[in-house]
């Protein structure tokens, strides 16, 4: 059956009634977004793999409880964020640079310390994606979380505020700071 034209809400409802194919379609549709949100937040592939399983297991388990009063993506990213926060708390890990290691930090330090040297540093990094993750790692966790929720989850400021439990204005402020900082970091090698 072709699930491409079906909404997320329809797919999760069908899965809740026992249609495994609908879950596969949902997973494929959102896999990369959830993955990036988790990995770029926790900065560790191993932790992100664990969280990825936990998140999607929770989606599968709680599918029957999903109510389409909220968008599926809002529900999905709420689960992802809650799992991530729990994992970070449980492991007393940090959301930022700790998992990236010394080398990554060195690259970012070079990027941010000397703007004139940035293109060269970026060339040395040879991978825009690595620099991106490192730039994200330079953001305060709250700003990074808000930014990734909005960009990967395609969520509105209101939705990010609801998920993170802070005010609309606070989210706006976090997003503004995050974007300013990222623009500076990324423009160094763009």
């Amino acid at each position: 059956m072709n699930d491409a034209g079906l909404s997320d809400e329809t797919l999760i409802a069908r899965y809740a009634r026992g249609d495994a194919g609908s879950f596969t379609a949902l997973y494929r549709r959102h896999e990369l977004r959830i993955w990036r949100y988790l990995e770029r937040n926790v900065g560790s592939r191993a932790t992100a793999e664990e969280l990825m399983q936990e998140v999607w297991f929770a989606v599968a388990r709680d599918a029957e409880r999903y109510r389409p009063s909220a968008r599926f993506t809002t529900w999905l990213f709420t689960i992802a964020r809650n799992r991530m926060v729990d994992a970070v708390r449980a492991r007393r890990a940090h959301l930022s640079l700790d998992a990236l290691g010394h080398e990554a930090e060195t690259v970012v330090e070079r990027l941010t310390a000397d703007p004139g040297a940035s293109p060269l540093a970026a060339a040395e990094a040879r991978d825009q994606a690595v620099v991106l993750r490192q730039a994200l790692a330079r953001l305060p966790p709250e700003q990074r979380d808000a930014f990734l929720l909005q960009l990967e989850g395609d969520l509105s400021v209101e939705e990010v505020a609801a998920i993170t439990g802070v005010s609309f204005e606070t989210v706006k402020s976090r997003l503004r700071y995050a974007r300013t900082r990222l623009r500076d970091l990324l423009s160094a090698y763009a």
């Binding site: 879950f23 997973y27 993955w35 990825m52 599968a60 620099v131 990324l186």
Partner: protein, 293 residues
């Protein structure tokens, strides 16, 4: 003037740069993670399908939610019928009386006959009718088949008089009374007796019939006249008892006969409030249609 571009543009720029850089990010979850997630989801889906099938089978076996209520109602109705049936034979009697009236040569009409006949006269009537039929058959030297045909004719005549609808029940009950009186007189060879006053409704029986949902008894009681809103010691009317008992059909009959839909009991509880408390939606709907408060 600030040399910085507007914040909005800067933000857009950051988003664009983020997206462009993301395109070059080959990072993906491992195939093992993907497989684990999809396998787990498939297992849960299969479990749900099995559970749903089990539930459907169980539902097919188990009684629906409303079935216990109906069984309970029927049990109460049977019990009530056994206890109070002798008082409510009138609706079933007309066929018997009709047999008698058709089988007898010339039953004198009893215009002012009592609505119910003395119970002692009842057992004789069917036998009289059938006896007449048998006598007629034997007189004509008919065989057993002819006797049966005559009996069937007598029964068919009675069947025409069997009441089907509410108003007909009343007529049937009265015709039974008339026929009973006529038969009694015919058997005794006596002159027409003066009409006795109509039987009064038994308020207790009315309420019991309403509570039990015994529509036959209920209609018989209503046909006898009397106060449809008569109350028991707790101020409950027949309508209230039918409502509390969830007897939607009895409620419908009572309302159709003019029962007060808002008659509150001694505690001030109205039938509508009782129906709402019991979540009797059909009754709530009926009561509201009759303007219950």
């Amino acid at each position: 003037m600030s040399t910085l571009p507007p914040p909005f543009d800067r933000s857009e720029d950051a988003d664009e740069r983020y997206r462009r850089a993301s395109e070059h990010d080959p990072s993906r979850p491992s195939e093992a993670t993907r497989r684990a997630v999809l396998d787990h989801a498939a297992r849960l889906a299969a479990e749900r399908t099995r559970r749903a099938a089990r539930r459907r089978r169980l539902m097919a076996l188990l009684v629906p939610r409303w079935r216990p209520a109906i069984v309970g109602t029927l049990a109460i109705a049977v019990l009530a019928g056994v206890v109070i049936a002798p008082q409510f034979l009138a609706p079933t009697a007309p066929s018997e009386s009709q047999r008698a009236s058709e089988a007898l040569p010339a039953p004198a009409p009893a215009v002012n006959a009592p609505a119910t006949a003395p119970p002692a006269a009842r057992p004789a009537r069917p036998s009289v009718a059938r006896e007449r039929a048998r006598v007629a058959a034997s007189a004509d030297h008919n065989d057993a088949l002819t006797t049966r045909q005559l009996e069937q004719q007598a029964d068919a005549g009675a069947a025409r008089a069997v009441p089907l609808e509410e108003p007909v029940v009343v007529a049937g009950a009265r015709s039974f009374a008339q026929a009973t009186a006529a038969t009694s007189r015919g058997a005794a060879g006596a002159a027409p007796v003066p009409a006795s006053p109509p039987a009064q409704v038994d308020p207790d029986a009315l309420r019991q019939a309403a509570a039990a949902g015994d529509l036959t008894a209920l209609r018989a009681q209503l046909a006898s006249g009397g106060d449809i809103d008569a109350r028991d010691a707790q101020g409950r009317t027949a309508l209230m008892l039918a409502t509390v008992g969830g007897q939607a059909d009895a409620v419908a009959v009572l309302l159709a006969h003019g029962a007060d839909p808002s008659a509150a009991d001694a505690h001030g509880t109205t039938p509508l409030r009782a129906a709402v408390a019991a979540d009797e939606r059909a009754i709530i709907s009926m009561l509201r249609r009759y303007g219950a408060r």
